[in-house]
């Protein structure tokens, strides 16, 4: 059993096809389970009442938004270092999902912020750096869209992802210091009250659901990319003829 065996697009195409149902069903079941815990089992918070339940979507989305960016940077670095085509395809397949989760995290954050803080938007360090993360995703996707040549696009996008990955921690800390300098700590996100075990459980289940969803969607997307790029090969022609 050699892992490099699956680095070839043709073998990975079939492996991905076998894996997708597992992850898709896993994502569905975990989502239902997580939402059940979130809506029916978790008690009402005595300070935040029912509105806190949005964290079961918000926190997993925020985690995934940052994690997917790192995974993209990882695949981009692997692709640049070892010249593996599949790595670039994975990076491209992940980007839209990452941008989607960033948007969801910002949007649900606004819905949570209105009843809790009385404001849709606060220039808090986390909110601001999440917004800048969304800008980075948009920039990378726009760069890919603008470059017609596949090889150039792959490499250019990966370089941009990498320089963004170096910059993300700097942006986070700069925004954090900027924020503490400009306004007093009117809202403290870091001193969250210790969470009931059942709430944490629901959040973790939802986080796994987000993982499974991301993997399933990225695999579906990477299969499309593989077929598009390998359409001149015999095996891809055979598959395309079947459909």
């Amino acid at each position: 059993m050699n892992l490099y065996h699956f680095a070839s697009p043709s073998t990975f195409y079939h492996l991905a096809g076998k894996l997708i149902p597992w992850f898709a069903w896993g994502a569905g079941i975990l989502t239902l389970w997580g939402l059940y815990i979130g809506f029916f089992q978790a008690p009402t918070d005595f300070q935040q009442s029912e509105a806190y339940r949005i964290i079961f979507i918000h926190v997993p989305a925020a985690w995934m938004s940052m994690f997917i960016y790192l995974v993209m940077a990882f695949w981009g670095a692997i692709g640049l270092a070892f010249n593996t085509r599949l790595s670039f395809m994975m990076a491209r397949a992940l980007a839209p999902t990452g941008a989607m989760f960033t948007f969801v995290a910002l949007w649900t954050g606004a819905w949570w912020g209105k009843p809790m803080w009385g404001a849709w938007w606060v220039w808090d360090a986390r909110l601001t750096s999440e917004l800048i993360l969304l800008f980075l995703y948009v920039g990378i996707i726009a760069l890919w869209a603008a470059i017609d040549d596949i090889k150039r696009g792959d490499r250019a996008g990966s370089l941009l992802t990498l320089i963004g990955a170096i910059n993300v921690p700097i942006i986070y800390f700069s925004v954090k210091w900027w924020n503490t300098l400009h306004q007093g700590a009117s809202v403290s996100l870091t001193k969250a009250p210790s969470m009931a075990a059942i709430m944490l459980q629901g959040m973790l289940v939802m986080a796994f659901a987000a993982w499974f969803y991301t993997i399933a969607v990225a695999l579906v997307r990477v299969r499309r990319i593989i077929l598009e790029r390998e359409r001149h090969t015999d095996w891809a022609k055979a598959i395309l003829a079947e459909d």
Binding site: I132, A142, L143, A146, R152, L160
Partner: protein, 222 residues
């Protein structure tokens, strides 16, 4: 090695000296963007002094982006860029030389204009001095990080707007520390911390950006 760097510098400076129009456009753009803000928010001196550092810094980033899209484009069009990349000299030095030339041509004049705009925005003298130091430390960051964007978007349709989209998020730390330093002087908390961080960010960009821009240039020319 040094001779190559100096040759690139001298070439770009000579080209800029023979085409003064381009150079002036970016400087006037800086002045105009900054002058539009009082018209938008009102002429109260306290308000202007409050927003002045941020406005001048944002205007400086936009002015540098305006000129960055042409950092490699002209040489790419007449084919000389490919020759320079193919030459045995390291591409990193080519990029570094071009970024330095961009800073000398477009960054340094901003330093000369900024105090005048600072007076327009009712900034006190010590704040203007800090603004100068922060621009001196910060504008090389704009040229260096911008060279990465210019290399990535070389020859693309709509390259100028795309460059802005790619590079502006990366400018955020420079903007925060640069404008923060001036704010620090005005609010009495001091500027040293911000200026130190701005200097550190500049050194980091100086080390990393030319390498990534050189790789990007090779990718774009393939």
């Amino acid at each position: 090695m040094h001779r190559f760097l100096l040759a690139v510098l001298r070439r770009d400076l000579t080209l800029a000296a023979r085409r003064r129009g381009d150079w002036l456009i970016a400087q006037f753009f800086f002045v105009m963007v900054a002058s539009l803000f009082p018209l938008g928010v009102g002429p109260e001196p306290e308000m202007l002094a409050r927003i002045g550092p941020g406005v001048l810094w944002v205007a400086a980033t936009l002015a540098s982006l305006l000129s960055l899209s042409r950092l490699f484009a002209d040489d790419h069009q007449d084919g000389s860029l490919e020759h320079m990349v193919l030459s045995p000299e390291p591409t990193v030095l080519l990029v570094l030389g071009k970024a330095l030339a961009h800073w000398l041509i477009y960054g340094i004049p901003l330093l000369a204009i900024a105090p005048v705009l600072g007076i327009q925005f009712n900034l006190p003298a010590d704040a203007i001095l800090t603004l100068e130091i922060s621009l001196l430390l910060g504008t090389p960051i704009l040229s260096l990080l911008g060279s990465v964007g210019a290399a990535l978007t070389l020859g693309l349709r709509g390259g100028g707007v795309l460059l802005t989209l790619l590079i502006l998020p990366l400018y955020v730390p420079a903007l925060i520390f640069g404008a923060g330093a001036v704010d620090g002087v005005m609010s009495g908390t001091g500027a040293e911390a911000h200026l130190s961080l701005l200097g550190a960010f500049m050194v980091l960009s100086l080390i990393i950006a030319p390498w990534i821009a050189a790789s990007a240039l090779r990718v774009s020319l393939e």
